[in-house]
């Protein structure tokens, strides 16, 4: 069930758009902000509120990179794997991260601290390689710098 806070935030978005459906991506992001991810149950609840079919909303939810349909750790690390970062050492960065965190892409550390995901070009190509942690941009990365960045996310 959606919480009162979630429902209120979603309803506030409705005023900005002419159809209920238009709010569905924002609605999923609101639920994700509160719970970290969007479960099947949340998809059904949001679909009901916005008068959509759960199947349609499921189709939308799985289309977008930033909607998580599985639980994630406390912090989500997204590593740019696009071309400029690839030229500047993405492979090494990935190796370092998977070794240090002992997980592969799509996995979460045992202590639930980090989830590791790939992401497309972050528009930081002049400071490649780059990654996001909880949507915060970190650039000019090498092994030491990565360790330093990760330390800040407990």
């Amino acid at each position: 069930m959606l919480t009162v806070a979630e429902r209120e935030e979603i309803e506030a978005e409705l005023a900005r758009y002419p159809t209920k459906e238009a709010v569905c991506i924002d609605a999923m992001k609101i639920v994700q902000r509160h719970r970290g991810w969007v479960s099947d149950e949340s998809v059904r609840d949001i679909a009901e509120l916005l008068e959509m079919s759960p199947a349609d909303l499921d189709g939308v939810s799985t289309f977008y990179n930033l909607i998580f349909r599985k639980p994630v750790g406390r912090h989500v690390v997204m590593v740019c794997n696009s071309v400029s970062c690839w030229i500047l050492g993405y492979e090494k960065m990935r190796e370092h991260l998977t070794k240090r965190l002992e997980i592969e892409f799509g996995e979460t550390t045992a202590d639930n601290r980090f989830t590791l995901l790939p992401i497309v070009c972050l528009g930081a190509c002049d400071h490649a390689p780059a990654m996001l942690v909880d949507n915060e941009l970190h650039t000019d990365l090498g092994p030491d710098r990565i360790d330093q960045v990760l330390e800040a996310y407990k």
Binding site: P18, N81, I87, L88, V120, C121, G123, D126
Partner: protein
């Protein structure tokens, strides 16, 4: 005379956003004042047409002409919409983020002018979810513009009214495709739509809609404030204005530079990007993002404008170059690019979802030392299968560009991977 840089000269060097006051002191919102005081919407369209402004998002469509397709008058469908396409996700492209973070009001003014020129009622800024700093700065700037009377009812005491909404997307390359963006805004998967009808006639919720790229829009306030003759004089070529050029890859000083349209690739890479890093040689360049054909050494003196880059066999695209050096594997680079396009394909058209995945697998196998002689022909076939006319949108044809040109200029490297059954760079 010092080179003019109207789009970037007011951006603070300390990484902060230019404030509303700072923008106004630098001449900001003067274009809007002039338009509302002394110009009809048609006159604004006309000025932008004469200025020769072409879209900076990649396709290069003439902006004034796009606006002129919007039905005008009192008996047209409403509300009409304008949208700033801030879904910058073309690999190797980082210019719009800089423009939005550095001077958010410049984009807002450009979008208000686009709305006035097409008599739109509602404006959206469609920004990708990953650009958090730009989102924060735009949200604040929109609120400031409201308070200052640049948005809302009776803008600057005129009859013109406009609401502006910042829409933060949930991320997918397809959202940057004009009609995919419209579907995303409507709360759907960002599949492309069949055209016609074109968005200026039937776009968002079926209403007339104009979609312009961020860099395109930030040119507009300057054109309106200073006139098309001044604007044309900024350029060194027949495509007018300045351009935000960029370079990434193993050059000495990767970055962005606002330069006259028509600056050569050589000047950008050697004078501004500082040339290649020590010990490395230039091998090729994607001149305008991931979806443009490779150019090589013989093209270094090509002026970076729409016409000349096209003559050289590529596209100006976003004008942000990705440089290939002689220690980076061209097959690996192509494999990375095709992996991106295959992943970001929305799955709507068969050549795209099937062809790109096929090409991706062939390239990955080649890199892993499992290439076969027939693979080069298979890849060549794919570039024809992915060509314009076979798909609803430009994603697949765009993906074919680096692939077909890599096969042309770096054919020996492909053959060597197959012959030696390994990647020689690993």
């Amino acid at each position: 005379m010092a080179q003019e840089k109207p789009l970037t000269e007011a951006i603070p060097l300390d990484g902060q956003a230019l404030s509303l006051r700072g923008y106004e002191q630098a001449g900001g919102y003067q274009g809007l004042r002039r338009a509302l005081r002394e110009m009809t919407p048609q006159a604004v369209q006309e000025e932008v047409k004469k200025a020769g402004l072409r879209g900076r998002g990649g396709a290069g469509f003439p902006t004034g002409m796009k606006w002129s397709f919007v039905p005008m008058g009192s008996d047209v469908p409403r509300p009409k919409y304008v949208i700033a396409n801030a879904d910058e996700m073309e690999p190797g492209t980082f210019k719009d983020r800089y423009l939005m973070e550095g001077n958010p009001h410049q984009l807002i003014e450009g979008l208000i002018l686009a709305a006035y020129a097409t008599q739109a009622d509602v404006a959206f800024i469609f920004i990708r979810g990953e650009y958090r700093l730009a989102q924060e700065r735009l949200a604040r700037a929109i609120a400031e513009a409201h308070t200052a009377g640049y948005l809302g009812k009776n803008i600057l005491k005129s009859d013109f009214a406009l609401e502006m909404i910042l829409h933060v997307s949930a991320g997918r390359y397809m959202c940057g495709e004009e009609t995919g963006l419209l579907n995303a805004l409507e709360g759907k998967r960002a599949n492309p739509r069949s055209k016609p009808p074109f968005p200026p006639v039937a776009g968002l919720w079926g209403k007339p809609t104009t979609v312009n790229n961020v860099e395109t829009l930030v040119n507009v306030p300057h054109i309106i404030a200073k006139g098309f003759t001044w604007y044309q004089g900024l350029s060194r070529s027949k495509d007018y204005g300045t351009k935000i050029y960029g370079a990434s890859g193993k050059v000495k000083r990767p970055g962005l530079w606002e330069l006259p349209m028509g600056t050569t690739i050589r000047e950008i890479l050697e004078e501004h990007a500082g040339g290649m890093r020590e010990g490395l040689r230039f091998r090729g360049v994607l001149p305008g993002g991931a979806s443009t054909d490779f150019l090589v050494e013989e093209h270094l003196d090509v002026p970076m404008d729409f016409l000349e880059v096209q003559k050289a066999g590529s596209r100006l695209g976003t004008g942000t170059m990705i440089v290939l050096d002689d220690r980076t594997c061209p097959v690996g680079m192509t494999s990375n690019l095709i992996h991106f396009f295959a992943q970001e394909s929305c799955g709507w058209c068969t050549p795209c979802w099937s062809g790109l995945n096929w090409a991706k697998q062939i390239l990955a196998a080649m890199e892993a030392g499992r290439g076969k002689p027939v693979d080069i022909d298979k890849l060549s076939f794919q570039t024809k299968f992915l060509a314009p006319g076979n798909t609803f949108c430009a994603l697949a044809p765009g993906a074919a560009e680096p692939l077909q040109s890599a096969l042309k200029y770096f054919r020996e490297d492909f053959e060597r991977h197959i012959r030696e059954q390994r990647c020689p760079w690993k």
